[in-house]
């Protein structure tokens, strides 16, 4: 199967890129916000042309509800807290996976697991925000979600598809980075993008005419002084049309994939969602987030978590294999985590409750040193005994792996600048290849 080019444009010099886009779309694109985006990407392209690595991509597999670390990445079999499942050892002493994740265990050489993640947030809403933004939630500041940060920093403005796509789950917020970096939502993998077909049914000449009519009105409004409003509208209209006319939207449809591959991913939202993610990455999308719901197992933790692992294991393993086969893994950071872990003590309802004291995150791909495990917990999994990792540390690590400068400042509110990543975090150097 031939490899499609990853980006819509070939590597162009910064000037050529700028002039090409300006020529195509008019000076309106030098509206505030767009030029910096162009510049960022052009810089990245230039760096690539000069031999530096290509901009990386992100895939975040979000395990909604707080996955139990004891039934996934930090099992403690045979102990009072360990539950009924066994553990599968890896080649490295002291590192094992739950027996419900055999395929991931088999690929441990490509993975890195952090076992000592901790935070103070035990409520879903706050912890979800913390793990998506890297900052303790604060109602006065709209921190951007991780996918929006990546789209903002590394997204290709010439991409015909949106730079950040989210599959299932409530949409994350782009915060102070603005609506241009909001996730493009796909409710179900394989579902067609809404409202594209009618645009396509019209003749191009007619669409041109309509846009010209709209532009006539916009020109008048701009002449009155509404520069920002018109620039934004032109931009979104242009991107909407470009998306509608782009043949790359076939990436959203899964019918062309082989039945065997689809089966390997698993006939689940997560499985097909990861297949969709791979296709989107191939067509120029920079960040994809997938939501896998159901991990909040206060009741009946064991059968429920087992069922969820049965979905996660083949989906994620096949995804990593698929990326590698297509040469995409080296430049794609894959992260799998939830908002907290679950209590070692098993409750009266045979469940585990919220536990932000020590929990796990899994990383793979783009710059990650495979076969690494960071941090350790005690025998019963009730406390961290080695190398605690805070959420700011985790985000500093993401920034390092994605080659993003986390210290950039933004005016989040009129009074308070904030950095992209919490400056209190330090990247986990053990994980950097």
């Amino acid at each position: 199967m031939s490899r499609r080019p990853l980006l819509a444009t070939a590597a162009l010099s910064r000037r050529a890129l700028l002039s090409r886009l300006v020529g195509a779309c008019g000076a309106a694109f030098l509206a505030p916000g767009f030029l910096p985006l162009l510049q960022r990407h052009a810089r990245a392209q230039e760096a690539a042309a000069g031999g530096a690595p290509t901009p990386r991509r992100l895939v975040l597999v979000w395990l909604e509800g707080g996955p139990s670390q004891l039934e996934t990445f930090d099992p403690k079999p045979g102990t009072a807290t360990g539950g009924p499942f066994r553990a599968l050892p890896t080649e490295r002493a002291g590192w094992s996976f739950s027996e419900r994740l055999p395929k991931l265990r088999d690929r441990a050489g490509k993975l890195a697991v952090v076992r000592s993640l901790h935070s103070k947030e035990g409520s879903h809403a706050r912890a979800r925000l913390l793990l998506h933004t890297g900052f303790v939630p604060n109602p006065s500041v709209a921190y951007p979600t991780l996918g929006s940060i990546v789209a903002h920093q590394l997204g290709d403005p010439a991409s015909e598809l949106p730079s950040f796509v989210q599959v299932a789950g409530p949409p994350g917020s782009p915060g102070y980075l603005g609506v241009a970096h909001a996730p493009f939502l796909v409710a179900r993998p394989g579902a067609k993008v809404a409202n594209l077909a009618p645009e396509r049914a019209l003749e191009r000449a007619r669409v041109d005419r309509r846009d010209a009519l709209r532009e006539a009105l916009d020109g008048g409004f701009e002449a009155e002084g509404a520069h920002a409003a018109v620039a934004r509208n032109r931009e979104q209209q242009r991107r909407a049309r470009r998306l509608a006319e782009s043949p790359r939207t076939r990436a959203f449809e899964l019918d062309g994939e082989s039945a065997k591959l689809r089966q390997a991913y698993g006939d689940t939202t997560l499985g097909q969602g990861l297949l969709l993610a791979r296709r989107l990455l191939e067509e120029g999308v920079t960040a994809v987030e997938l939501h896998h719901d159901g991990w909040d197992t206060h009741i009946d933790n064991f059968p429920k978590t087992a069922a969820l692992c049965d979905e996660l294991d083949p989906a994620l393993a096949t995804f990593l294999d698929d990326l590698e086969t297509r040469g995409l893994l080296a430049d794609t950071l894959v992260v799998c985590m939830g908002e907290f872990g679950r209590t070692p003590a098993i409750s009266a309802r045979n469940g585990r409750d919220h536990w932000p004291v020590n929990y796990c995150a899994l990383l793979a791909g783009g710059g990650v040193k495979g076969g690494s495990v960071v941090g350790a917990t005690d025998e019963l999994g009730q406390s961290i005994v080695e190398r605690p990792v805070s959420v700011p540390d985790l985000f500093a690590t993401f920034a390092a792996l994605l080659r993003i400068d986390g210290s950039q400042e933004f005016q989040a509110t009129p009074r308070r600048p904030t950095t992209l990543v919490d400056p209190d975090g330090a990247a986990i150097t053990e994980l950097l290849a």
Partner: protein, 641 residues
């Protein structure tokens, strides 16, 4: 030559043109506001006097800052702005026609009064308050809104004061089939800190929520002060289920002692565990060790039995046995070690919170003692709504200013104590004092600000964005805002979009057959379908005070070619199509119905010419579709001027 748009509208509407009309749209050539004759005397003298004070104070501030206020807004656009702000929708062509048929000297003030009396005003406010009150309600906010919004809309439709609103929400107590105001405290019953933070923000304009974990980073609130404030909610208890008080399923909010809450919760957990048949037996095959760890001891069983008995009792006697138990450190430790996870968590929280929230105290240091008058929450509302409260009236006044003029006198709108960005502080004090004098009448402030010259200013030319931002901050120019989802949905529906909403679109938001509608769910199915589409397209901004949508790709696609954006039939009728291509008519006149319906104004000659030149008379329906497309997708349509 600048076309006098409002004049053109009047002509087109067929109304009589009065001599005074020409003075309405004449742009001011100097920094001065339009001549006094243009803004008529308001019916209520007190509001009028305050409006004059308001304008004078701002004018003085602008002069001192060397700011030139923007030219006044054209009257047609003013009507669009007012209609969006107070009625939540763009004005219909009929409403525009009726407005311009009235005598110019009094029509603005009359329109404001009509809008304030319109039930849509109550709905618009209900959306705003709903979002403020449920700001931290998380995933359940949408479900809860279905209860809260109708209650708010109903209450706000009648004459109501801000203190009444505060009392009915913050001190809500009792039992009912339909939660109504109870939805507010019930949303936060698991975290009174969150409830305290939201209450302070919405009603007092204070951002104390940061202080729940540590002393506030840049404001003066200490954690101890926060805890004393939150303690006013410590007795709050809410639940839902089959209630004897309502003879069936219902919702209840009460003030009880914390001990009661613990006893009930422990009893609930015990019942749940017993129901699952997992008492002291094995949790599941092979889980003996886990089961043993959770086996209850006699101490624990006795404690739970005692608590169960206490749950049956009512009255102050409850406090002592638990307090005694807690005071015995050894018994407490043993109980703690043996309780199952959830119950242990509860006990820990209870003990911690007994300390943390034992003492309630007001944020301004005013003394408070339990048992003096009524419940803690009632005492809190008494303090909040008292005339001496430093923040309540100012917070409401600031919010009204921000809602109508784009920014408050203090910015952010709800950071009265922490913000250093204030203009004309004396003016906010004056507005607050006036509001108190008026008994907190909600519509009074809206009347004052909507009748002001400041509200009639146009927008700044933002070729120089910094200068434009500065003028907007000083309220010397009005920001160009976009629509909230409700405003966009209402405006599109009013246009007739969605008339032909497919059964599929409506079905998508309908409930599965056989499921009874939850109490309080209402609304037009077309509106719900459209709102659902808009919600899908465009996530809300994260700032609870700015609920506007920005056009993004999915929304642009929807408006370009979604079902909901098809040109409505009423704009494609035979007479209108004939008019569009009628060579006897002036070009502006030919496109007038479409412009009025979408942009609330007449077309300029250049626009009309450009548009008509591109349309094909051989296919009039397609031409109407194209014209509608352009009008609904242009930037101006999405701007609240």
């Amino acid at each position: 030559m600048r076309v006098k748009w409002s004049l053109a509208v009047v002509l087109l509407a067929g109304a009589l043109v009065t001599a005074a009309a020409s003075s309405q749209s004449a742009p001011a050539s100097t920094a001065a506001a339009p001549p006094a004759a243009a803004l008529p005397a308001v019916a209520l003298p007190v509001a009028a006097a305050l409006t004059a004070e308001f304008d004078a104070a701002l004018a003085a501030a602008w002069s001192a800052q060397g700011l030139v206020p923007a030219a006044p807004l054209d009257e047609a656009r003013w009507l669009r702005r007012l209609s969006l702000d107070l009625r939540g929708t763009i004005p219909s062509p009929e409403e525009i026609e009726r407005y311009f048929a009235r005598p110019p000297a009094t029509r603005r003030a009359e329109e404001i009064e009509a809008a304030l009396a319109d039930p849509r005003f109550a709905e618009t406010l209900a959306f705003q308050w709903n979002d403020l009150l449920l700001a931290e309600a998380g995933k359940d906010a949408e479900k809860t809104a279905r209860w809260l919004k109708p209650w708010l809309a109903e209450r706000l439709a009648g004459p109501i004061t801000f203190p009444q609103l505060a009392r009915e929400l913050v001190a809500a107590a009792g039992a009912a089939r339909v939660p109504g105001a109870f939805a507010f405290p019930l949303s936060y019953r698991d975290s009174i800190e969150t409830l305290a933070g939201v209450t302070a923000r919405a009603f007092l304009g204070l951002q104390i929520q940061c202080a729940q974990c540590h002393d506030h980073p840049y404001d003066h609130w200490k954690q101890a002060e926060f805890n004393r404030f939150a303690a006013f909610f410590a007795e709050l208890r809410g639940d839902h289920g089959v209630l004897s008080e309502v003879g069936g399923p219902g919702f209840r909010v009460l003030d009880r002692s914390p001990e009661w809450d613990l006893a009930d919760r422990l009893a609930d957990l015990e019942r749940a565990a017993a129901k699952m048949g997992r008492d002291d037996g094995a949790m599941m095959a092979g889980g003996d060790r886990a089961a043993a760890a959770n086996r209850r001891t006699p101490v624990e069983a006795a404690a739970l039995a005692e608590l169960r008995a206490l749950a049956k009792e009512r009255g102050p006697g409850v406090a002592r046995p638990i307090a005694a138990f807690i005071a015995d450190g050894e018994a407490l430790a043993e109980l703690r070690a043996r309780l199952p996870g959830d119950a242990r968590e509860l006990l820990d929280r209870y003990v911690e919170r007994r300390e943390k929230f034992s003492e309630a105290g007001h944020l301004d240091g005013r003394p408070y003692a339990d048992g003096a008058v009524g419940t803690r929450r009632q005492a809190l509302v008494d303090w909040m709504t008292a005339a001496e409260n430093p923040w309540f009236a100012a917070a409401q006044a600031n919010r009204v200013v921000a809602t109508l003029l784009g920014k408050g006198l203090t910015d952010p709108v709800d950071d009265l104590s922490g913000s250093s960005d204030r203009i004309v502080p004396a003016l906010l004090e004056r507005l607050a004092a006036a509001l108190i004098e008026q008994g907190g009448d909600l519509r009074f402030l809206y009347r004052v600000v909507a009748n002001s010259r400041a509200y009639a200013l146009g927008a700044a030319d933002d070729a120089d964005p910094t200068e434009a931002a500065r003028r907007e901050r000083w309220l010397a120019a009005h920001p160009r805002r976009t629509f909230t989802p409700e405003q966009l949905a209402q405006s599109l529906l009013q246009l007739g979009v969605g008339e032909g909403a497919s059964d599929a679109a409506i079905a998508r938001t309908a409930r599965p057959a056989g499921r009874a509608a939850p109490l309080g769910e209402q609304g037009d199915p077309r509106e719900n379908a459209l709102l659902a589409e808009l919600a899908r397209c465009s996530p809300r901004r994260s700032d609870v005070n700015d609920r506007t949508l920005e056009v993004n790709i999915p929304l642009a696609l929807l408006l370009r070619h979604g079902e909901e954006a098809a040109a409505p039939e009423r704009l494609k009728s035979e007479p209108l199509l004939a008019r569009l291509f009628d060579p006897e008519r002036a070009e502006c006149d030919r496109v007038a119905p479409w412009f009025l319906a979408t942009l609330s104004r007449a077309a300029r000659p250049a626009e009309a010419a450009a548009l008509l030149a591109a349309l094909d008379p051989a296919k009039p329906r397609a031409a109407a579709d194209d014209l509608f497309f352009a009008l609904v997708n242009c930037a101006e349509f999405h701007v609240n001027p």
